[in-house]
């Protein structure tokens, strides 16, 4: 959703408008007073925005500064690094197994994203491009799971993974990333909702044309719906990836005891719990943690915000 060059709501419109006849339009020059006032307002706006931006960026700036300090300095009241310890970013990888944790987090985020996309597209399709009795009711059921607190299901689900699935299959699930990834291959309410909203906007005629050619649902999906929905699918994928990357609670429950399978958010928290707490390394690790998220956002800004808008505005 690009900001249009539209006139700003609330600003006075310039005099003069298109007449009904074919006369040439002449505009009265805007008086200096009005121009000056508008400049003032614009400067005022920008100042406030710059101010707010600075406040938003301050924590990040301090994170970077602290990450470059020595251990002792990070705990002192000094704000500027003396000297700049760039090697902190390397030391972080040596102190805890950051490389492995990063890999684990990538695996979790990547595989769960793949699962969400693959499983949610058919489901959203069924809720949007086919009419069937009870459709709205079941969709409401899907939405209501969004309101289910994690804690209601997390404890029994943990036991199910630890006991039932283990006994049924002989596979050890706790302490691995499997319980985190697998449920995402069976749909996710938020993604279903997002995709469904988007699918509803696809013109009926396009789907019908596939029908006329003798195609069924899978053909419609393949030839019309999916190609047209790339932005929405991208948005869903991005949301899921970032959610999994930042996820703290679920890894805490399932891999909290496995020092080898932990994800970055857990490792970060453990950094704080270690006896030998070093704020400078903690900040460096945090920055490393945030880098993929920031990179992804920069690369896919437009898609992101489009996706966010699709859910928020329609409500």
């Amino acid at each position: 959703m690009a900001t249009t060059a539209a006139s700003t709501p609330g600003a006075p419109r310039p005099a003069g408008s298109a007449p009904a006849t074919g006369r040439r339009i002449t505009r009265r020059p805007t008086p200096a007073r009005v121009r000056f006032r508008r400049l003032l307002v614009s400067v005022g706006n920008h100042s406030v925005l710059v101010g707010v931006s600075i406040i938003f960026m301050v924590p990040i700036v301090f994170m970077i500064l602290t990450a470059l300090m020595t251990d002792r300095q990070a705990l002192s009241t000094q704000l500027w690094p003396h000297p700049f310890v760039w090697s902190n970013f390397i030391t972080v990888f040596q102190s805890i197994d950051l490389a492995r944790y990063t890999w684990n987090t990538f695996v979790y985020a990547g595989l769960s994203t793949l699962g969400v996309v693959i499983s949610c597209v058919p489901v959203a399709y069924a809720f949007s491009r086919i009419t069937w009795r009870g459709r709205n009711l079941v969709f409401l059921l899907v939405l209501s799971t969004l309101m289910l607190p994690n804690q209601v299901v997390s404890v029994p689900l943990y036991v199910i993974w630890a006991r039932t699935f283990h006994d049924l299959t002989g596979i050890q699930f706790i302490g691995t990333l499997k319980p985190l990834i697998i449920p995402n291959w069976f749909g996710d309410a938020f993604s279903i909702f997002l995709l469904r909203q988007f699918f509803m906007t696809i013109p009926k005629e396009l789907c019908d044309s596939v029908r006329v050619d003798g195609g069924g649902h899978w053909q419609i999906l393949r030839r019309v719906v999916i190609p047209l929905s790339k932005p929405a699918i991208m948005a869903v994928a991005l949301f899921q990836f970032i959610y999994a990357w930042n996820d703290f609670y679920n890894p805490l429950v399932y891999v909290g005891e496995s020092p080898t399978a932990q994800t970055l958010s857990l490792a970060l928290s453990n950094f704080r719990g270690m006896h030998h707490v070093q704020w400078n390394l903690t900040m460096a690790a945090t920055l490393i943690f945030m880098i993929p998220v920031v990179v992804i956002f920069f690369l896919a800004q437009r898609v992101f915000i489009e996706g966010v808008t699709l859910t928020g505005v329609k409500g």
Partner: protein
């Protein structure tokens, strides 16, 4: 695409097409190409079966996931809420004892039994919702309105605001614990230079620990700003022109045009904010941990001011291993969330305008 099948009573070919790829073997038609009512009914039923079959197939991932990963755990946790269960032995049925303990009714072994910090957890959670959600709405809306004015540079601002909201909550919490350290943190160092200001202890003082979380929360308001911006920009320009012709001032413009049309957005952010507030966990876990002097067995420091419902539940489940009691707490949380959402939905009819755009 809708009820044509049912409404038309199935002119043969149409019905077959709408139902799917495999053409039904149409029974013999009479010379005029019409079919008997029974045949039509059978064709309709077959078409319907095919359609519902397709729907079931398409929905199957979600159905399986819902049954296995949502419904079953819910039923199990409901069962556990009536038991004492520590994971090492089988659950022992105790009826309503857990709920009695939670609400301080009745006795266990002759002693009046009450969970000492249950209401603390409830109060803390309600606090963060009541103060956090409106603050988020106001701040996001205000900033978004600022962003509608300038013609250039909005992209850059938008990015800057949105980025911190994508930071992991754990990382954000750690950063703010550091920034708000009473003696070594930059915030207090700067504040201390202003004469006459009493620098608060932020996370270390129970009176200011939750407000510190609000400050932390404001840093992550960027995603709401984006939503509000989109909502504000989708207000049709003509409405502003119309009201400007009548000579309305800025406040009237806002109250009569902008506000009503962004009520869906406000509603959405309120509902999501309330749902998230009930499950508040990450930031409180990290901040309380940092403040507790290295003894992570005590959650919600200082003085339980950061003991939120989700955190307390976690303590009972995974620190004290009282799974039965934790399940009871979880179901109460579910009930509260559903009630709050229902109330919001019902009262929304009065103030939310689904204008639906153009």
């Amino acid at each position: 695409m809708s009820e044509t099948e049912h409404a038309t009573g199935g002119a043969g070919p149409e019905a077959a097409m709408a139902a799917g790829p495999a053409m039904a073997a149409t029974p013999a038609a009479d010379l005029l190409g019409r079919r008997s009512p029974e045949d039509r009914r059978r064709a309709r039923r077959r078409a319907a079966l095919r359609k519902y079959g397709a729907v079931l197939l398409l929905l199957s991932p979600w159905i399986i996931g819902f049954v296995v990963f949502t419904l079953t755990p819910m039923i199990i946790s409901l069962y556990w809420s009536f038991t004492h269960y520590d994971m090492a032995s089988t659950p022992r049925w105790v009826g309503l004892d857990n709920y009695r303990f939670m609400f301080g009714i009745g006795e266990i072994h002759g002693i009046k039994a009450a969970d000492p910090y249950f209401w603390t957890a409830v109060k803390n959670t309600l606090w963060i919702i009541v103060f956090g959600v409106p603050l988020r709405v106001l701040f996001a809306m205000g900033t978004a309105m600022l962003l509608t004015r300038p013609k250039r540079g909005t992209n850059a601002y938008r990015t800057l605001f949105f980025m911190p909201s994508m930071a992991p909550k754990v990382a954000a919490a750690l950063v703010f614990v550091y920034l708000l350290n009473p003696t070594t943190g930059p915030v207090n160092q700067l504040l201390g230079m202003i004469p006459g200001i009493h620098t608060p202890l932020w996370f270390y003082d129970p009176a200011t620990s939750k407000p510190s979380l609000l400050v932390l929360g404001l840093w992550g308001v960027g995603d709401a700003i984006v939503i509000y911006l989109a909502g504000l920009l989708s207000v049709p320009r003509e409405l502003y022109e119309a009201i400007a012709i009548e000579g309305a001032n800025a406040w009237q413009r806002f109250r009569n045009v902008t506000l009503p049309l962004i009520t869906p957005v406000i509603f959405f952010t309120i509902v999501m904010g309330v749902i998230d507030g009930f499950q508040y966990f990450d930031q409180a876990y990290v901040a309380g941990n940092a403040v507790s002097g290295g003894q992570t067995t005590v959650l919600g420091s200082p003085q339980n001011s950061l003991l939120f419902y989700g955190l307390y539940l976690y303590e009972w489940a995974f620190r004290n291993f009282a799974m039965g009691y934790a399940s009871a707490m979880a179901w109460i949380l579910f009930g509260a969330t559903m009630t709050a959402t229902a109330v919001l939905l019902l009262t929304s009819r009065r103030w939310v305008h689904y204008g639906g755009g153009s």
